[in-house]
């Protein structure tokens, strides 16, 4: 006689697993997640240190120094660059942001077509 799958559980249902096993599974899964996150977080300071040091040595370090460019790790733990003024980004254009997506000049209440 055929037995339905309902009557023949291939694996224990969650409710069949003793609570202690559930707890173990959860705690190990959390540990795996923690290790993964910790690993990611540990890599970053290593990489920062390596790159900042590399930027100070050899011909590249010399070239950057000549250009007045230097890197340092800030108080927040992040790499910061110090650039001479001439290399800094230009300021955003100063045109007024008063035009809507249809080209209507909101300030003057007219469109280019109207001109």
């Amino acid at each position: 006689m055929e037995r339905s799958l309902e009557n023949r559980p291939l694996r224990p249902r969650t409710s069949d697993v003793p609570p202690s096993e559930d707890k173990i599974r959860t705690s190990i899964e959390q540990e795996i997640l923690h290790v993964r996150q910790e690993g990611d977080e540990l890599i970053k300071p290593l990489v920062r240190g390596s790159l900042v040091q590399a930027m100070e040595r050899g011909p590249l370090g010399e070239a950057l120094k000549r250009q007045g460019i230097r890197f340092e790790i800030g108080e927040d733990g992040l790499v910061q660059i110090h650039l001479p003024k001439k290399y800094r980004e230009p300021k955003a254009v100063s045109l007024p942001h008063d035009i809507d997506e249809h080209g209507t000049d909101l300030h003057h209440h007219r469109t280019l077509r109207a001109l």
Binding site: P18, E21, I28, V35, V47, A54
Partner: protein
């Protein structure tokens, strides 16, 4: 030439490749698709919108400054200039990068850094002459090696934990069957 687009907080949004000033291709990152995807949608058909200003005479003869939107076609040699202006108007940063520097940028993308840090290294990379690019390659190679080593250690620790988990689960699934056969 390639033009990299960044948000105000230095997240990489995408890249635009150009030839003689005209656009070849626009590729957006996941962040870029969300943040500027809608803004870039009509570029190929309608052109990239940039603000312009002109002076017109009013009825009484006095001059009046009027701003309006102008669309620059992507195939126009003026596209690159328009792209830079568009980026500024939208509070983005557009950094151009020569093809020779591209490989180093791609390596930087693979290194786990905060967006502001990656941007900082990119600023220095752009100012590096081609003759020193091999130095950048060496630095970035070393950093990638560190990353791979640390990732292997993490993977090993995770593997051990997974084995522990598998052992516990096997105990739950196998033990009742073993008892049944006994």
């Amino acid at each position: 030439m390639i033009h990299l687009l960044f948000s105000a907080d230095r997240r990489f949004l995408g890249e635009v490749t150009t030839t003689n000033g005209a656009m070849d291709r626009l590729t957006l990152s996941q962040d870029g698709a969300l943040e500027i995807g809608a803004l870039c949608d009509g570029w190929v058909v309608r052109g990239i919108p940039v603000q312009q200003m002109m002076t017109v005479k009013q009825a009484d003869g006095s001059p009046e400054a009027v701003t309006y939107l102008e669309r620059v076609q992507t195939r126009s040699p003026e596209f690159v200039e328009a792209l830079e202006q568009w980026a500024h108007e939208n509070h983005l940063a557009a950094l151009s990068l020569s093809d020779s520097h591209l490989a180093c940028w791609e390596m930087l993308l693979l290194i786990p850094l905060e967006p502001s840090e990656r941007f900082a290294f990119l600023l220095a990379l752009r100012l590096t002459p081609n003759t020193l690019l091999s130095e950048w390659n060496t630095c970035l190679d070393e950093a990638q090696l560190l990353v791979r080593h640390a990732q292997a250690q993490t993977q090993h620790a995770i593997h051990l934990l997974q084995k522990r988990l598998a052992h516990h689960l096997a105990h739950v699934f196998v033990a009742p069957n073993a008892n049944a056969h006994a």
